[in-house]
């Protein structure tokens, strides 16, 4: 892990950290420095910058700058929560399936394949109509969509590692499966996990935005950058900042997180393996 921490000294790592810090800073401090209440109607919808509104107004007439400043927190915790959940489930499945020599392996992975083959937006359309639209549905839904991709990567990596000498040695020593997984396997697949953390985080944010595009997503009036991108589509031509500003924040976050991910894996001495590609969950 010490090698991992050395990433912070590399150029890439530092830029990445800086970018992420900027975004997190805006998200955390923003709500305290908003010029207006983020849910107050202060002007006509879709007015361009001017008149005391530095970024103009959004599709409802809220001050855009205030919405921007208060919209980071929601997106951040949402993407962190969904990614964490996706990883919890995905890593577990991947580890178990990859390590196991029994029927558990093919059964679990075929299950993963079936879920991957199910179009995610279809899944949301059905879920929203039957279960309803709420934060819980969204978080669980996105996690379900992302988890199989994580599971696939962890599975491949675990399979590779589990035939390595040190794992065999641990087995012969009589170590329990659980501790083998924790102490021998997990640290050695960490680079794959960390690289994909960045991608997964990004995809969870994109899913939020796209799910909302089909009108299935979060509840207004919560400010949320991903939500802002789709809800302001009708006024794109009237006030382009309504989409450029939140999209810009998310882009900076994405780039920052990925730079950090790159730097960590470089520091660990291995680049991104020719591993699987997390966007697979979108397929079909």
């Amino acid at each position: 892990m010490k090698r991992a921490r050395s990433f912070a000294r590399t150029g890439r790592g530092q830029i990445g950290l800086f970018l992420v810090a900027v975004v997190v800073g805006v998200a955390v401090i923003g709500p305290f420095v908003m010029p207006y209440d983020s849910t107050a109607i202060v002007g006509a919808p879709g007015t361009p910058p001017g008149n005391g509104h530095i970024l103009g107004t959004d599709y409802l007439g809220h001050d855009l700058l205030s919405r921007l400043l208060s919209g980071g927190w929601s997106v951040l915790w949402l993407s962190v929560a969904t990614t964490a959940l996706a990883y919890a489930v995905g890593v577990t499945i991947g580890l178990v399936a990859g390590y196991s020599r029994t029927l558990l392996d093919p059964i679990l992975m075929r299950l993963v394949d079936v879920i991957l083959a199910f179009p995610p937006l279809l899944f949301f359309l059905i879920a929203a109509t039957s279960v309803g639209t709420g934060k819980a549905t969204l978080v669980i839904g996105i996690a379900i969509v992302l988890a199989p991709g994580v599971a696939r990567i962890v599975y491949t990596a675990t399979r590779e590692v589990s035939v390595c000498a040190y794992v065999e040695a641990a087995v012969m020593r009589g170590e329990r499966t659980w501790s083998i997984l924790r102490r021998e396997v997990l640290p050695n697949i960490s680079s794959y996990i960390i690289t994909n953390l960045g991608l997964t985080l990004t995809f969870s944010i994109l899913l939020v935005a796209s799910v909302n595009f089909l009108s299935l997503g979060l509840q207004a009036p919560a400010s949320n950058w991903a939500l802002m991108i789709s809800e302001n589509r009708p006024i794109l031509k009237l006030n382009v900042w309504a989409i450029v500003a939140p999209a810009g924040m998310l882009a900076i976050l994405t780039i920052g997180v990925n730079l950090i991910g790159d730097a960590i894996t470089d520091a660990l001495g291995r680049s991104d393996g020719p591993g699987e590609f997390n966007r697979a969950k979108w397929a079909g």
């Binding site: 919808p45 109509t129 009108s215």
Partner: protein, 538 residues
Amino acid sequence: MEMKDSRLGRRNFIFGASAAVGTIALASTLAACSSDGGGSGSPKTLLASAAGRGTKLGNPKRGGHLRVAMIGNGTSETLNTAHLGSPIDAMRAFAVYDPLVRSAPGFKTEPGLAINWEHNDDGTEWRVGLRKDVTWHDGKPFTADDVIYTWRQMGNPDHVGHSQVADIDLDRLSKDGDHSVIVPLKKPIGRLYDFFVNFTTAFVIQNGTKDFSNPIGTGPFKVDRFIPGERTVLSAHRDYWDPGRPYLDQMTLLSFTDQSALENALLSKEADVISPLSYPTARANLNTNNYQVIVSEGGPNYVFYMRMDREPFDDVRVRQAMRLIADRQALINASLSGFGEVMNDLPGKGLPFYNGSIEQRKQDIAKAKSLLKAAGKSDLQVILQTAPSLPGFEEAALVFAEQAKKAGVTVTVKKETTASYFNHDLLFMKMDFAQDALPTPALAPRYKSSLSSEASLNEVHRKDPSFDALLAKAIAEPDLAKAAEYWNQLQQREFDEGGYIVWAGALQVNAAANNVRGISGGWWLGLDDFRSFEWWLA
């Protein structure tokens, strides 16, 4: 049996009276608007700037192919008059079929296929005179048999308009010659024609039609090709009864799912007319030359409704408080970009029998608070369910929630999907506090389908036999002066106790290329109330 026309003169019956009431109502609307300092938002200024936009100028030219793009209804789109449900279905149907009663500019109606409505003394039997020399698209002549068949089909429980014809004795319908239908009623009705303006009941289909894949109509256009969810190709019916019309040779209806794509279609000239145009965009383009922004004279009544048979809205004081919280002009400005007419918690403003003497309710937070306190609900918390089904819905819900804060009421807005919002199995008729848009071409059908206790669209879940009795009396009364009294009483009751917050007549905004003419606006449905026979290309 003696038939008497108990109204003005044979030529004038409904239409003359409507004109009078219509004009008065419109004038009062404009007056009300000018008193709110509405430089930015009043319909008066909007209509004024949209008025001389060239849609009415010049002599109609014949020929041309008009492409109309609208937000569609996917594969549920249909030409089956029993199942019409969305604006695009209505547009298509008005092109292919003819209504018995047509709407006309200025909150008026005019004869469609029915040119004469007479009734006996007590209003229990009517004789409807039909237009002569009308031909179907396949050449056959239009006769009373077609009307009788149409009405009998409406009696089927799966027909979207069946509750509107419930009081007609369909089995005993008969004809007197080929152009006259004798209509016996189970209960008297004072103005039978009121029930045949809405697209749910107005259209006449050919006698014996069972299959709607290649429908025959008497309307201005014939169907060449119909692909639900995608496009409809129409060509002019050269034997249409309205002389000289339609002016166009061809019309194509395009069905879109995305509002921004709709606007792009107009800008890139793939469409000549689009409906709707989003309100903020309309505002921004009112005075530009990119395209014409066409604003209707009136439109569906936008409402919030409260369920009257459960807490907390079963207490009339709570309902009144909620009605007093609404700052209607502010709602209109924020959610409709100003394209709306303030309404007074009663549907059908400007229509015959509308009680215009009731003073416009205004926002009164202090009174709302005291009413809530008296009801013991000072910290009321409610959930308002909304959906992006119509332009302005969501925005209005959010703004209302903000307004409610001032009265100490916490309104949590819950967004649902359009598909579940109006779905009977899912949410429709099951929500306590939600929204709707009520196209109201006449009072009687609207009250019958939404405000009475037996109404199929009784969203407010009213259970009030005395209200129903009064409504029945108002509808049945053939003496129109007496009927007006009943209607006034009824509306006063609705105003005092009802579960609807009718906050705006949402003006419908559409856009057309600069060379499109003849689209004058419409007053209850939108896009010129789909009078496509009048449209032409310069």
